[in-house]
C-alpha cells in the first residue's frame, strides 16, 4: 500500500507498524485471557474459566465456534491480503483496463454451498448444548433458591430451608459423583434484571410477571463474582453478586445459623428500640422482632455478609453508619432513604445492627 505523505514512501513503515500493532494486540489478548487465579479466590469473572457444568458446556461450545470462525477469518484474510498485494496498480502497468469479468456461476455456487454446510454444523453443535443446558433433567437432590431482583439488590429465599437472605448467595459445592446442583427460580419485584456469574453459568434475566429458571453445579468451593447484567435503573452498576460456594458441612452450618431468629442482646436494646420505632421496619425485616418489611433486604443476619448495599461497600461500622445517614454517599440513586437520625440514635442503631450475626 503506497501512502504518500510529504512525498515520502511510507509503505514499508505502514506495514511494519501494522505488524507490530498486531503482535502487541495478540500478546495483550493472550495475557488478558490467561489470568491465573489462586485457588479459593476467583476475582476475575472470566467466562473462559468455568467451574460449573453449564459454564463448562458453554466454554467447550465456544472453543468449537472460535475454531471454526478463526479458520474462516484466516482464509478470507489471506485471500484479501493476497488480492491487495497481487492486483494493485503498478507504475509500469499497461494503460488498458483489466479483463472485465462479470461473474461466475460455479464460484458463486461454491461460496454458497460451503457456508451453508458450515452453518449446518454450527447449528447442530449449538442446539445440542442448548438442549443439554436448558432441558437438563432435574436430579433428586437439588438446593432450591428463589432469586427476586429488586432495584438495586438481590433477594434470595430458600423455601425448603426457611431462609431469607440478600445479595450474597451461599450454595453447596456439587460432587460430580453425587450431584447437588442449585436450581434458581428467577423473579422480579420491579424492572428487568439479569443474574450473571460468568464462571458458574450463562446469564438469565429476571423479568416481572414472569418465572425463569436456571441451574448451576459448582465443582469447586470459593467465592465467584458477578453482577446484574440488564440495565435496571440508576444503580444498575452496583447491583453486585457474590456466590459463596461452600463445602457441604459449611453450607449446613451456614443454613442452620440463618434459620435462627435474630439474637436478642440486651446491651443494644437502645439501638433495637430505634430500629423498631423508626421507618426502618417499613422496608426491612428482622425475624424475632416487629420488623417484617419486604421492600428492602432482610437484616436478620446481615453481619454474616461481607458487604452492604449489594456489594457497594464493605460491611464495616463506618460504612454502615454512612449508609444509614446518607445512602447517596455510597450509592447515589438507590432507594434507601437518608434516615436523618441524631448522632446518638445512629450510633445506637449501628451497634444494634452489628449484633445481627
Amino acid at each position: 500500500m503506497k501512502v504518500n505523505f510529504r512525498g515520502m514512501e511510507w509503505e514499508g513503515v505502514a506495514r511494519l507498524g501494522a505488524g507490530i500493532l498486531l503482535l502487541v494486540f495478540g500478546l495483550l489478548l493472550a495475557a488478558g485471557l490467561c489470568s491465573a487465579s489462586t485457588p479459593g479466590e476467583n476475582p476475575v469473572p472470566n467466562i473462559f474459566e468455568p467451574h460449573s457444568t453449564p459454564a463448562d458446556s458453554i466454554f467447550h461450545l465456544s472453543l468449537f465456534v472460535l475454531t471454526i470462525t478463526g479458520l474462516i477469518f484466516l482464509v478470507v484474510f489471506i485471500l484479501l491480503v493476497y488480492a491487495i498485494v497481487k492486483f494493485r496498480a503498478r507504475a509500469g502497468d499497461s494503460p488498458h483496463e483489466p479483463p472485465q469479468v462479470y461473474g461466475s456461476t460455479q464460484i458463486e455456487l461454491a461460496w454458497t454451498v460451503i457456508p451453508i454446510l458450515i452453518v449446518v454444523v454450527l447449528f447442530l453443535a449449538t442446539t445440542r448444548v442448548l438442549h443439554a443446558i436448558q432441558d437438563a433433567p432435574k436430579p433428586a437432590n437439588v438446593v432450591e433458591v428463589i432469586a427476586i431482583g429488586h432495584q438495586f439488590w438481590w433477594e434470595f429465599r430458600y423455601p425448603a430451608l426457611g431462609i431469607v437472605t440478600a445479595n450474597e448467595l451461599h450454595i453447596p459445592v456439587s460432587d460430580p459423583a453425587n450431584p447437588t446442583p442449585t436450581y434458581l427460580k428467577l423473579l422480579s419485584a420491579d424492572t428487568d434484571h439479569s443474574f450473571w456469574v460468568p464462571q458458574l453459568a450463562g446469564k438469565t434475566d429476571l423479568i416481572p410477571n414472569r418465572v425463569n429458571t436456571m441451574w448451576m453445579d459448582p465443582r469447586r468451593t470459593g467465592i465467584f463474582l458477578g453482577q446484574c447484567a440488564q440495565y435496571c435503573g440508576t444503580q444498575h452498576a452496583k447491583m453486585l453478586l457474590q456466590v459463596k460456594v461452600d463445602s457441604r458441612e459449611d453450607f449446613e452450618a451456614w443454613a442452620n445459623a440463618q434459620k435462627q431468629p435474630a439474637k436478642q442482646d440486651e446491651s443494644v436494646s437502645a439501638g433495637r428500640h430505634v430500629f423498631e420505632t423508626t421507618a426502618c421496619i417499613n422496608c426491612h425485616a428482622v425475624t424475632g422482632t416487629a420488623a417484617t418489611g419486604r421492600f428492602g433486604p432482610d437484616l436478620t443476619h446481615m453481619m454474616s455478609r461481607s458487604t452492604i448495599a449489594s456489594g457497594a461497600a464493605e460491611n464495616t461500622p463506618e460504612n454502615l453508619g454512612m449508609w444509614i445517614q446518607d445512602p447517596e454517599m455510597i450509592k447515589p440513586g438507590s432507594l434507601m432513604p437518608a434516615m436523618k437520625l441524631s448522632d446518638t440514635d445512629q450510633d445506637a442503631l449501628v451497634r444494634y445492627l452489628e449484633t445481627l450475626r
Binding site: S104, T191, K203, N209
Partner: protein, 557 residues
C-alpha cells in the same frame, strides 16, 4: 456547464443577501439540497453523539471514577445510542440516497419532492426535540431531563412508576416523529426507483445502490412501523392509564422486547445495506472492473432483507424463552450469515484480477471488508445461543456492534464522502489529509474496539457507570478510552478537510474517478435539473458503454 457559467453563477450568488440563500435552503424541495441537509444534520449529531461517547469513556477510564454522576452517565449512553442510530446513521443514509438515487437512475428529482422536504424536517425536529430534553430539565418544574432508559427503552423501566417526569416521553416522541419522517423517505425512494427510471434502465440495469436503497426502504416500511406502534402503546400506558406493558396488571415486559427487536434487528440491516451500496459502487471503480456477480448481489440483498425479519429474538436469548424458540432463532441467525458472506466474497471477486487504486475511498472500503468480516464472525459467536448467554449484555456485544456500525458502516460512509464529495461540491478533497484521517482512524478504531471484546469475556456487563477494581478490567478500559481520543482527532482532521477543500480544493470536473454510472455524466455540482436530456441506457454501466463503444457492457449482460 462551462467554467464561464460557473463563474457567472458564483458572482450571482455572491451578490444575494444571505437571508435569501438561507430561505432557499429551508424551503427547498430539491433532492440534492435535501440530501446535503440530511448529511449536514447527521454530521452535527455525529459530533454530539461522539462527545457523549467521550464522556462515557472518560468515566470508565478508571474503576470507581467520578467524572460524572450515575444519573448523567445513564443519560449519556441512552442519548449516545439514540442519537447515533436515529439522528446520524439513518439521516446520512437517507441523505446519500436522496442525493444519488435520482442522478443514478436518470431522473430529475425524487417522486415526491414536497414529501421529501417534509420528511427531512420531521427528522430534524425529532432531533431537536430529543436534545431539548436536556433543557426541559429539573429546573422547569421537574419537567424531566434527558432520557436515561437506554436506547431500547425496555418496559417496565419506562413506565410512569419507574420513569417519573418526562424524560422517557422525550425519547418516545422524538423517535416516533422521526420514524414517520423515515417512513416518508422510504416511500419516496421506493416510488422513485419503481416509477422514475430513465428509458432503458430496467431494474436489472440499475446501479446496485438503487437496489440496496430499495431493499432498505422496504425494510423501513415494515419495521419502523412496529416501533411506532410500540411507542404509541407506551404513550397510552404513560398518559391514558393503559396496561400494555404494565406487569402489575398482567401486562408483559417481554412483549415490548419482541416489538422493539422486531424493529431493532432489521434496523441494523437498514443501517448496513446502504453501506453495502457504497462499497458496491466504490470497489468496482477502484478495481477497474464491474461488480462481480451483480444478480447474486441483488438476490443476496433481498434475501438478507427477508431473513432479517426472522432473527429478532437473538437479542432475547437470555429472557428465558423455550429451547424450541431459542433453537429457531439460532437457525435463522446463522442462516443470515450465508448471503452476507456471499457479498463479502463478491467484493473480493471484484477486486480479484483488477488494477487496484488505493485512493482514499478505496482504502476505507478495503478496511470495511476486513472489519465487516470480523464483525460478522463475532455475530456468529453471538448467534450460538449458549455462548450468547455469556456474551450478551456485556462489553463483548458492545464491541461487536460497534465493529459493525463504526468499522463497517462508518468506514463506508467515509469512503462515500471522499468518493462523492467532488460530485456534490465540484472540488476534490485533499488526498494526503484523507490518508492521514484513514490511518489514524484505523489505529484508534482497532485500539478501542478490538480490545473492548476482552472486558466482555472477563465478565464486564454493559451500561454500568462504574466498575469494580480487581476484576481484571482496568487496563482494557484505559486503552479503550485512549483509542477514542485517537478517533476523535482523526474525525477533526476529516472535518478540516471537508471545510478547507470546499474553498481551496482543486476543481473536480464531471468524472474525476473515471467511473461508469450516470451521476458522473453531469457537471459537478449538477445543475438543478440534473440532466439536460433524460438519458437512455442500454447496460448497467452507461458511461463504460460511451467510453468504450467498441466493447460495451450491453454485449455481455
Amino acid at each position: 456547464m462551462s467554467s464561464d457559467a460557473m463563474a457567472i453563477r458564483a458572482a450571482e450568488a455572491a451578490g444575494r443577501p444571505w437571508v435569501e440563500t438561507l430561505h432557499d435552503w429551508i424551503t427547498t424541495v430539491d433532492h440534492k439540497r435535501l440530501g446535503i441537509l440530511y448529511i449536514l444534520l447527521a454530521m452535527l449529531f455525529l459530533l454530539i453523539g461522539g462527545l457523549e461517547a467521550i464522556v462515557i469513556r472518560i468515566q470508565l477510564m478508571r474503576p470507581h471514577y467520578d467524572f460524572v454522576s450515575p444519573q448523567v452517565f445513564n443519560r449519556m449512553f441512552t442519548m449516545h445510542g439514540t442519537t447515533m442510530i436515529f439522528f446520524v446513521i439513518m439521516p446520512v443514509m437517507f441523505g446519500f440516497a436522496n442525493y444519488l438515487v435520482p442522478l443514478m437512475i436518470g431522473a430529475r428529482d425524487m417522486a415526491f419532492p414536497r414529501l421529501n422536504a417534509f420528511s427531512f424536517w420531521l427528522t430534524a425536529f425529532g432531533g431537536l426535540l430529543l436534545y431539548f430534553s436536556f433543557l426541559g430539565g429539573s429546573g422547569l418544574y421537574g419537567a424531566g431531563n434527558a432520557p436515561d432508559v437506554g436506547w431500547w427503552a425496555y418496559a417496565p423501566l419506562t413506565s410512569r412508576a419507574f420513569s417519573p417526569g418526562h424524560s422517557a416521553d422525550y425519547w418516545t416522541i422524538s423517535v416516533l416523529v422521526s420514524g414517520f419522517g423515515s417512513i416518508g423517505t422510504a416511500t419516496n425512494i421506493i416510488a422513485t426507483v419503481i416509477s422514475m427510471r430513465c428509458p432503458g434502465m430496467t431494474l436489472g440495469r440499475m446501479p446496485l445502490m438503487g437496489w440496496m436503497t430499495l431493499v432498505m426502504s422496504g425494510l423501513v416500511l415494515i419495521t419502523i412501523s412496529p416501533l411506532s406502534a410500540a411507542q404509541i402503546m407506551l404513550l397510552v400506558d404513560r398518559y391514558l392509564g393503559g396496561h400494555f406493558f404494565d406487569t402489575q396488571a398482567g401486562g408483559s415486559a417481554a412483549l415490548w422486547m419482541h416489538f422493539f427487536w422486531i424493529f431493532g434487528h432489521p434496523e441494523v440491516y437498514i443501517l448496513v445495506i446502504p453501506a453495502f451500496a457504497f462499497a458496491s459502487e466504490i470497489i468496482p471503480v477502484f478495481s477497474r472492473k464491474p461488480i462481480f456477480g451483480y444478480p447474486v448481489m441483488v438476490a443476496a440483498t433481498v434475501g438478507i432483507g427477508f431473513i432479517s425479519m426472522s432473527v429478532w429474538a437473538h437479542h432475547m436469548f437470555t429472557i428465558g424463552m423455550t429451547s424450541a424458540a431459542n433453537t429457531f432463532f439460532v437457525l435463522t441467525t446463522m442462516a443470515i450469515s450465508v448471503p452476507t458472506g456471499i457479498k463479502i466474497f463478491n467484493w473480493l471477486g471484484t477486486m480479484w484480477g483488477g488494477k487496484l487504486q488505493f485512493k482514499t475511498p478505496m482504502l476505507f472500503c478495503i478496511a470495511f471488508l476486513f472489519q465487516f468480516l470480523v464483525a460478522g464472525l463475532t455475530g456468529i459467536m453471538l448467534g450460538a445461543a449458549p455462548f450468547n448467554w455469556q456474551l450478551n449484555g456485556s462489553y463483548f456485544v458492545i464491541a461487536h456492534f460497534h465493529y459493525v456500525i463504526v468499522g463497517a458502516i462508518l468506514f463506508c460512509i467515509f469512503g462515500a464522502v471522499y468518493f462523492w464529495y467532488p460530485k456534490i461540491t465540484g472540488r476534490m478533497l485533499n488526498e494526503s489529509l484523507g490518508k492521514l484521517h484513514f490511518w489514524l482512524f484505523v489505529i484508534g478504531f482497532h485500539m478501542t474496539f478490538d480490545l473492548m471484546h476482552i472486558p466482555g469475556i472477563l465478565g464486564m456487563p454493559r451500561r454500568i457507570y462504574t466498575f469494580e477494581p480487581g476484576r481484571g478490567w482496568e487496563i482494557w478500559n484505559m486503552l479503550v478510552t485512549i483509542g477514542t481520543f485517537i478517533q476523535a482527532i482523526a474525525i477533526l482532521l476529516f472535518l478540516a478537510n471537508l471545510l478547507i477543500s470546499y474553498f481551496k480544493g482543486p476543481r473536480a470536473g464531471n468524472d474525476p474517478w473515471d467511473a461508469w454510472t450516470l451521476e458522473w455524466s453531469v457537471n459537478s455540482p449538477p445543475p438543478a435539473y440534473n440532466f439536460a436530456v433524460i438519458p437512455t441506457v442500454e447496460s448497467r454501466r452507461p458511461l463504460w458503454d460511451r467510453k468504450h463503444p467498441e466493447d460495451p457492457d450491453s454485449r455481455y449482460e
